[in-house]
Symmetry: C2
Subunit: 153 residues, 2 copies
DNA sequence: CGGTGATAGATAGCATGCTATGTAACATTG
DNA sequence: CAATGTTACATAGCATGCTATCTATCACCG
């Protein structure tokens, strides 16, 4: 039997992720935000002064991706990067006032995306959906750590 | 209560999609393929001679995205684009022999990604996972068509 | 202290995907 | 049949994310 994209978890997840991103992008563009900076903001709104490394670990992106994202955020006045006095390699990341002011409207927009996406599901289905995604994430992370040995040696 | 990324469907789906993409990329890179061309190949392996518009409709990507992807595929010797004799605007897309030869190993690689991702799920959970993703996809597509009016006016 | 390795971050270069816009060919209608 | 609108595709420009590689700083060990 031929491989069918419509029965492929990977294909479906990719498609769904693009739909989520399109929707989020449309809703936060009026705030001057974009989808790539949003996850970093979510972490920083919980507490800033983090290092780039800490952000990378919380968001599971590659280090150059984060460098690039933070550069855009600094350019757009969302963050400042200050040299750490104790460690010359580290630049700690601090939110600007304008970034703080965006927390309420931006998270409201993201919540609307989730709500409208899951609208057709029952509460049980929603919980099951999230639980299954988490389980698959853990599975793929475990596989990556095992095969790629990027679980730090 | 604060918006939490770890309970956000959008965030989790984005994360999962990146994990799938990393895994697929690692497995098909040895074949000289990349993740963006793969969906187009899946469609074309089922039957080529399609127009760009037909590919776009089957894969739900924006038109310039497909133009760009096809340009790379042509550059890499995976496809040829021939002018349609009946309609001067249309360029029909044909697979090269080398692209045809990649169907078996490439789909095997993709199947392995899916298998390892879903390994920890029971057969029932796997079916439920796919069904839920499809349902959410349909929900977001309906919303986009309703709000954006890109359901062709 | 000096060398060696590890760590934090930056750079280069590319693929993927988007919006906005341009161009050429077709279709439709007065 | 000419004007007008629609359709197919291309271009420009940008954001997001990756791999590979470089630099600077720190940590540790002799």
């Amino acid at each position: 039997m031929r491989f069918s994209k419509d029965d492929s978890a990977g294909f479906l997840v990719n498609h769904l992720a693009r739909l989520f991103a399109r929707d989020l992008q449309a809703r936060i563009k009026p705030l001057g935000l974009s989808t790539g900076t949003f996850p970093a903001l979510l972490v920083l709104w919980e507490g800033d002064g983090l290092t780039q490394r800490e952000l990378i670990d919380r968001l599971d992106v590659e280090q150059p991706t984060m460098t690039h994202t933070l550069a855009r955020m600094e350019r757009d006045g969302l963050i400042r990067r200050d040299q750490d006095p104790a460690d010359g390699r580290v630049r700690r990341i601090w939110l600007t006032e304008s970034a703080r002011a965006l927390e309420a409207p931006a998270t409201a927009a993201a919540a609307q995306v989730n709500t409208s996406a899951l609208e057709q599901l029952s509460p049980e289905e929603r919980a099951a959906f999230l639980a299954l995604i988490r389980k698959v994430i853990l599975g793929l992370q475990a596989e990556a750590a095992a095969s790629g040995r990027d679980g730090k040696t």
